[in-house]
Subunit: 195 residues, 4 copies
Amino acid sequence: MSRLRLLVLAASTRTGSYNAALAEFAARRIAATGADVTRTTLADFPVPLYDGDLQEEQGVPAGAHELAARIGDHDGVVIVSPEYNYSMPGNLKNLIDWVSRIKPWPTTGVNGLLMSASPGPVGGHRGLIALRVPLEGIGARLHPDMFSLAAADRAFTPEGDLADSALSARLDATVEAFLHVVEATKHYRREAVAA
Amino acid sequence: MSRLRLLVLAASTRTGSYNAALAEFAARRIAATGADVTRTTLADFPVPLYDGDLQEEQGVPAGAHELAARIGDHDGVVIVSPEYNYSMPGNLKNLIDWVSRIKPWPTTGVNGLLMSASPGPVGGHRGLIALRVPLEGIGARLHPDMFSLAAADRAFTPEGDLADSALSARLDATVEAFLHVVEATKHYRREAVAA
Amino acid sequence: MSRLRLLVLAASTRTGSYNAALAEFAARRIAATGADVTRTTLADFPVPLYDGDLQEEQGVPAGAHELAARIGDHDGVVIVSPEYNYSMPGNLKNLIDWVSRIKPWPTTGVNGLLMSASPGPVGGHRGLIALRVPLEGIGARLHPDMFSLAAADRAFTPEGDLADSALSARLDATVEAFLHVVEATKHYRREAVAA
Amino acid sequence: MSRLRLLVLAASTRTGSYNAALAEFAARRIAATGADVTRTTLADFPVPLYDGDLQEEQGVPAGAHELAARIGDHDGVVIVSPEYNYSMPGNLKNLIDWVSRIKPWPTTGVNGLLMSASPGPVGGHRGLIALRVPLEGIGARLHPDMFSLAAADRAFTPEGDLADSALSARLDATVEAFLHVVEATKHYRREAVAA
């Protein structure tokens, strides 16, 4: 059995981002299971604001093709995203809108796991609920369980671990269940893509 | 390899329901792949309106336990549901609310596929988008692709087939992709349930 | 200027319900502004589970007509609802489904304010977001601001007031902004209903 | 009574956009009621992709402040937006995310009406349902009725009118009901903003 390859995307571009911190912690926990992990952020996939005329003239931008290629190279994707105004961030949705213009969709049959972090009491869960709609709309198979980290400003140790061991164990359990499904279904995805 | 067992639930109780007709057609198409199919409707799982005091006094009603048992006997579930007021039907949500009171959730890790039918031009898709939230909230792994049948009042032949062969092929393709995932992940679900 | 008349509906049927407690507190705060307040709960509007055949045979049940009449007697409606499985309660949606069968909709142009309470850290806000869709679908004008009470198990004094004065002031401000709009638009609604 | 001032925002940047055509038609119909109408598109409010560090260094960009100023100059806003991937466009959400960083929110108490157009059978309604969440989250009072134009590629006459007179009358009725509420509540908004 070959090692699973997971892509982790931190959908935040702010220095000191709690979502970036959670993405980094999740990446280490996934790597600890024996999987290969690639860490990325939105900044690795630069795209302009979506514009139909721009697409007509110049095609889909390189940043969207780069994300499509990365998705193709991995067995599953973990997106760690903040919540903006009770919904998904516009900049992340904008990247999704560009990727959706690549046909066939590079996202069809791809297993995904969503996480979020927020200093507030809710943890970004409403943003993730909204984010599921376009991702599933372009064929991603999203894990039903999600990991939303509330009070993220007080959640991490200086080493970047989750200070609360129960929360950390909950993240591990979510990751483990997700990786089971990734392992089980990765070949079906390749068939689907080949079709 | 044992035959897959699929539960089809028509979430409509009206005589001449388009959703019931679509559920019947989908059941036949699934059976044609070699799977065992059990046909049910909401009427097979009678429950009262949810009431916390009633639960305290009498426990979760038999209809919800019956659905939980049916889910446990099958490898995947297909729900065919109308859209009411741009969202899911209250009576279906009420049944889900009762089932969610059974712990551990009988729905964790269960593969599901959603379909809808409507005489209008939209086909019930908005209702399905809303329905995903509580089902995924209690752990169901829902197929990202959904089958929404618009203009359902003119869609069926007298024999109950979809008259439009392109639509029928699209339903078959959706079912096939779903059954691949059901086959691949059915064992992981059992581990999850055992844990 | 005649006194405003507000209908408060507690969408919970459990003894000791936090949502009923919040509804009672909100009713008192609204009454303190000089408005007339009518207190109701789901139990005042008994309806069966929605069934198209039942509607065909017996029409819309009395409970739904009773709610429609109550809405017609008041200038605005406050709904205080729990969140079930990250969405609206099925029993509340079921009542909405029945009311939506009354034509013209008794809800068109009616001003509404949504509140929720939960012992958890989120306060039921996700349920209210889902609840807006069908209510706006049948024409209700919902106040954009909502009041979600987290940690509701520790929120009330023995007298039933909110213990946290900042939270109580926030509820008052939300109510005041809502009543301004109710006062301003109540006549336009009557024109709409008359049309 | 002073004339109402309405801002119409076409949230599409494509040449030949159906949403721009619908925005233009709606602007003419609103003007025909005697209101002053300002036509804008996303291109009038250029902003970068949201970036917390960029905000820290350079503040909210001029394009977002320009939209805030335009909103302040008008009594109500009409947004005509396409649907991308079953949700709102990322570029529109990105502009909302920037505007939401201006405190106090320029959107609090602002009356809004949402429209959409699509060549498909659904008309963009799912995108509008998603768009309501962040707009209401920053205080906008959105009209419950929305105007979604399906089959938009065949909907317009060479003069840019809606060819179907029933559809055109439906748009007029929606606009009229909205303008009633704008007229009734415009002063309350100013109080709220002043507070």
